[in-house]
Symmetry: C2
Subunit: 271 residues, 2 copies
């Protein structure tokens, strides 16, 4: 399917775009099922938060209607929205009249092995650490060199994802996923106020857990806590939940709470 730029079919962006020049923008990767963008409200909520924090002026109503129209035309697959601050004058300075550019790209459904969800995966222990920047933490912004470097650390298919720590050694997330631990029936996921991407599936799971009366904690996580977890899983808004069986010398079994949450997510993603 053709990509759209500002609502029109297009395959390129002007060289002056600040997304290209500085990574000055945000993105969302959205599963599309039966012509509907899955978890659209949560994606738009994170995008809106990103726009507010980065002072990017964008028409959220227009973005919502474009995402819905594009998803309807795509039918099944993955929809990627890139929202940049628009064109640059000269240098880092922004100007009041800047209009955000909306880029929509569609692709076929993701083709991860079925076994990732059923049998679980192994995480590669990335040496690349996440730097700590509260001004950007949580946002799905376009400055993603740390993820590019981390993802280049392994090429084998034995590892489906990578584990990333921050500069202080806290356990934060996967390269393209959020991470959850389960211990004594309680869900634990990393506080993302210094670094990390606050994933839409993470937000959905936190809300679902609360609705189900599952105890949950958002806090700093140590490697010791990870090691001692009863269950571990990663999640994102495209593949849902993958149980984690191992990472380096650590190993976990796939447990009942992970399976329960997988059931909920499968219903959402229709997988």
């Amino acid at each position: 399917m053709h990509s759209w730029v500002d609502g029109q079919p297009a395959h390129a962006v002007p060289l002056k775009d600040r997304g290209l020049a500085y990574g000055d923008g945000l993105f969302e990767t959205i599963a599309v099922k039966a012509g509907q963008p899955v978890l659209l409200d949560r994606h738009l909520q994170r995008l809106d938060e990103g726009c507010r924090r980065l002072a990017i002026v964008a028409d959220q109503t227009l973005i919502r209607s474009e995402l819905q129209a594009y998803a309807a035309a795509l039918g099944e697959g993955v929809l990627k929205l890139i929202l940049t601050r628009g064109d640059s004058l000269r240098g880092y300075g922004t100007h009041a009249g800047a209009v955000a550019r909306r880029i929509l790209q569609g692709s076929p459904p993701a083709t991860y092995p079925q076994a990732h969800g059923s049998s679980g995966i192994r995480l590669f222990a990335c040496a690349t650490r996440l730097s700590e920047q509260p001004l950007l933490a949580g946002l799905k912004h376009l400055n993603r060199l740390e993820q590019v470097i981390a993802r280049s650390e392994w090429r084998d298919t034995e590892h489906a994802e990578g584990l990333m720590l921050d500069m202080s050694g806290r356990v934060i997330e996967g390269v393209f996923s959020n991470l959850f631990l389960i211990r004594d029936g309680m869900l634990l996921t990393a506080d993302l106020s210094r670094c990390g991407v606050a994933g839409v599936m993470r937000a959905e799971l936190l809300a679902q857990a609360q609705a189900l009366g599952i105890a949950l904690t958002v806090a700093d996580i140590t490697l010791e806590q990870l090691q001692e977890a009863d269950e571990v899983f990663v999640c994102n808004s495209v593949y849902g939940i993958w149980p984690v069986r191992g990472c380096g010398a650590m190993s976990w079994s796939v447990g009942p709470l992970t399976r329960k949450l997988q059931g909920i997510v499968r219903a959402l993603l229709d997988i």
Copy 2:
């Protein structure tokens, strides 16, 4: 003048470009005088270092000849090279066959007030801190949201540049400049192994100082050291050197070593 993409006149890049998607690339901003790219060897050296550290495969000989040809056509002004990792497949993963994309854009000579160089400037004390990431430190990569946020902190014309500290409070650089202190005749500039951009003019000044027998130190700098400096200046490869007269409550006079280095840089940049 028309921009070039991979040696051909163009005004846009494909939506799949990884520079747009992830800020996955590098850039150089080069002064052009009498059809020549100024300090070309140093720009290419930094670019080459960036390619090596980010594992971007690019033809440095081709880049050199393109920069020379573009500068010859531009005559006078500023040449910006963006080198991206090329097109993306899906996700952060890179593939061995990726070919770097070369984007050249020209603009007229910068129009900073003459007084910045003659009378000196004031720095705005930015609240935005630089995060610490040794894997990216020193490189002029495309992940520049910190600079975008820092530059948005002031709109007045009283401040020509902003002062940036790192997360630990060390004095690092300007938003688009490197910073030098002079104390007892010795030059001091920040160690950039944790964060910051290792500017081409900074490298040139360090080499010139060494050739002139001026004592120089590259080390961590505290705010106290900044306050107690005899002279302070900022530099980059487009405007050369601006003496710094003040920043917040701190103030300095424009001194003889700054003036001496300005003379050298003026000859280079022909300003």
